[in-house]
């Protein structure tokens, strides 16, 4: 009972930290805004007569707020699905893209950019191809995996389909106009949140909170699954259905995240480990903790991406460059404790 209480405290602290980081991030950006102006803007919501510079409203509400919400949701979602997959596959090296969702989504987006579609349709194509790729992987594993270990065939099928979609992306890059289309595809594949609009975030917000709730509540089943398929079955869990549900939810979440942010590696692989070091392996608490740590991590990394230079640094670069030393630090710190 004691441990449960401390776990709740940790989650509470993480929630508080993530909100604080989000609010502080509102202050960071290339456009210098006095804190005073931010308060004036806040005050104007209650007192219509408050005067504040118009650009402050544009920068805070139209540019920074959508980005911060997106970083929160995308970071959280990728880490949540990473943690769920690592639990389900009983493999710590698994990331949310293991079943081909990122490669599929990347192909969809590249296709959309090549066809010169509007932002919304690029996002939709990316989402649909992400889900499509995983469906192919899942059916492939059903067909091939009768005799072999289910997890192994799933991961292998994922690798096959990822390879196919990566090759297809390369084909699109070859035919893309190198003056305009090719750099746009490259930037998309490197990930970034600069094009995010508030209106695009409602679906991922609903999906990720619903997913968070559902996965966390089924966390105890994933705990039992960690003993092995047979053991889980003997304890009355329908392993096949559980696996299918987790894959469906994780895919929906990852595809919606990737479709707005582009491909961001690392987060889904790294953050669950940090969460596990902090709160232990119990999925009921590990999953929400992963979500919150992922959100905090991506918020900080995105702050760097948009502030460090007048050129926007793609998130794929900053997550790796900031994530790697951070991970080494955590590893060193925890190894000393033991």
């Amino acid at each position: 009972m004691q441990s449960t209480k401390s776990e709740i405290v940790i989650i509470g602290m993480l929630l508080l930290t993530s909100i604080c980081v989000a609010i502080i991030s509102l202050h960071f950006g290339r456009f210098t805004i006095a804190i005073n102006d931010i308060f004036l803007l806040l005050k104007s919501f209650f007192d219509k007569n408050t005067l504040y510079p118009e650009t402050v409203k544009t920068v805070i509400l139209n540019i920074r707020l959508p980005r911060i919400l997106a970083a929160f949701l995308v970071g959280g979602t990728l880490s949540l699905t990473g943690a769920a997959y690592q639990g389900m596959f009983r493999n710590p090296m698994v990331s949310p893209s293991i079943l081909g969702v990122s490669a599929g989504a990347g192909f969809g987006a590249a296709l959309g950019i090549l066809l010169a579609l509007q932002g919304f349709w690029i996002q939709t194509l990316s989402f649909l191809f992400g889900i499509g790729a995983v469906l192919v992987v899942y059916s492939l594993s059903l067909v091939t995996g009768r005799k072999y270990d289910k997890n192994l065939t799933l991961i292998l099928s994922g690798m096959i389909i990822t390879a196919v979609f990566t090759a297809l992306i390369s084909i699109l890059k070859i035919v893309a106009d190198p003056n305009n289309t090719l750099p746009a595809i490259e930037y998309w594949l490197m990930g970034g949140l600069s094009g995010v609009q508030l209106g695009n975030l409602q679906y991922i917000a609903i999906l990720s909170f619903a997913g968070l709730l559902f996965l966390s509540l089924s966390g105890w089943k994933l705990d039992i699954l960690s003993f092995g398929d047979e053991e889980a079955k003997s304890m009355g869990i329908n392993v096949r259905r559980l696996r299918f549900t987790v894959i469906i939810i994780a895919t929906l979440l990852t595809a919606s995240a990737v479709s707005i942010s582009g491909i961001i590696g690392w987060v889904g692989l790294l953050v669950p480990h940090i969460a596990r070091m902090l709160i232990g392996p119990k999925n009921v608490v590990l999953l929400p903790a992963s979500f919150l740590i992922g959100a905090i991590f991506l918020l900080i990394v995105d702050d760097f991406s948009r502030c460090i230079s007048s050129i926007e640094i793609p998130l794929g670069i900053t997550t790796a460059l900031i994530g790697a030393p951070f991970f080494i630090f955590i590893l060193l710190k925890t190894s000393k404790k033991v």
């Binding site: 456009f31 544009t58 540019i63 010169a116 106009d177 003056n179 305009n180 750099p183 050129i311």
Partner: protein, 330 residues
């Protein structure tokens, strides 16, 4: 076997045909046939520059993937067969006597020298720097023995350059900045110093995008940075037909705070047959210069129109109708 015979015959050809020594625009000494009859223009920036003055001597043009349809240009250009120059055997199969490549001098020339020795076909470099295009035509005239025709082009360009200089002297700009807008959402740009925004540099218009990391090509920036730069003028490039960030810029509340949007100084860059700014940075930048003179240096719209119509006629072999011109400028 076929290719072997081909290579031998090309070598034989180069030795037997009478050759003269010339110095190309980069100062390299190159041996070329006395009377050149088969030319490969290495890429689109070179072929667009010389298809009119080379005529039927231009047997092929190197092409990058992407744009394939052109309008407002003589069909003579589109009829020239495309060749994938990355595949050297394809070049050999065409067996050009010389390869002409447009460069921006000064530039590292090692790649061209190694291309020449690999193919054993003389590579002649011409300068595509925006301020020297008249001299390039004089050079081409001599090389292709077509000096009368090329004189027309170089004369036209010299007049344009002189006119621009006197316009700039008459009314120097004071700190006006412009932002070159690329991509679906307009968040890609070419910063100052890039080949793609030389039209600004040439006309002494300050490029709003100043970045710490010097870059030759496109960079991605975020909206806040554009607000910091707060350009006076915005020029939006068409992104493959329908998608032009121009509409977004004018309607989105995010862009509304910029000086350029408030003063309605947002322009769509004409893009047929090639954009007036870059892509490729070649002769197609000249109408861009003429157009910007109207916007920034008070050149009369009538003069602009006359000059641009003459340009299309001379360099693209196409007579612009009033309707075409209106469409271009819309």
């Amino acid at each position: 076997m076929k290719k072997y015979i081909l290579i031998v015959s090309i070598c034989f050809y180069t030795f037997v045909v009478h050759a003269k020594q010339i110095t190309d625009m980069a100062g390299r000494t190159v041996k070329v046939p006395d009377h050149i009859k088969k030319i490969l223009a290495y890429d689109s920036k070179t072929s667009i520059m010389m298809f009119r003055c080379a005529g039927s001597k231009l047997v092929a043009k190197g092409m990058l993937p992407g744009k394939k349809t052109y309008s407002l240009i003589s069909s003579d250009y589109t009829k020239i067969p495309d060749v994938d120059v990355k595949n050297l055997e394809e070049i050999l199969a065409i067996a050009p006597e010389i390869i002409i490549i447009g460069v921006y001098l000064p530039e590292n020339l090692d790649d061209y020298t190694s291309l020449q020795s690999k193919l054993n076909i003389p590579v002649v470099l011409i300068d595509l720097s925006i301020e020297k295009l008249d001299k390039t035509y004089t050079f081409l005239g001599k090389l292709l023995e077509n000096e009368v025709e090329c004189k027309k082009y170089s004369n036209y360009l010299s007049t344009i350059y002189t006119d621009i200089q006197s316009l700039m002297k008459a009314k120097p700009l004071s700190g006006i900045t412009a932002y070159y807008c690329l991509g679906v959402d307009g968040l890609m740009t070419d910063p100052s110093g890039s080949k793609h925004t030389e039209v600004f540099d040439f006309l002494k218009i300050k490029n709003a995008a100043k970045v710490e990391i010097p870059s030759g090509g496109h960079v991605k920036v975020n909206m806040e940075q554009i607000l910091v730069w707060n350009p006076d003028y915005i020029f939006a490039a068409e992104f493959k037909g329908e998608t032009n960030p121009y509409k977004t810029i004018l309607t989105s509340p995010t862009w509304a705070g910029l000086k350029a949007v408030k003063n309605k100084h947002v322009y769509k860059i004409p893009s047929q047959p090639l954009t007036w700014f870059d892509h490729p940075p070649s002769i197609n930048r000249i109408p861009g210069l003429i157009w910007l003179c109207e916007i920034f240096y008070k050149q009369s719209p009538e003069t602009t129109k006359a000059k641009i119509i003459e340009f299309y006629k001379l360099f693209y072999g196409y007579t612009l109708t009033d309707e075409d011109y209106k469409q271009l400028r819309s």
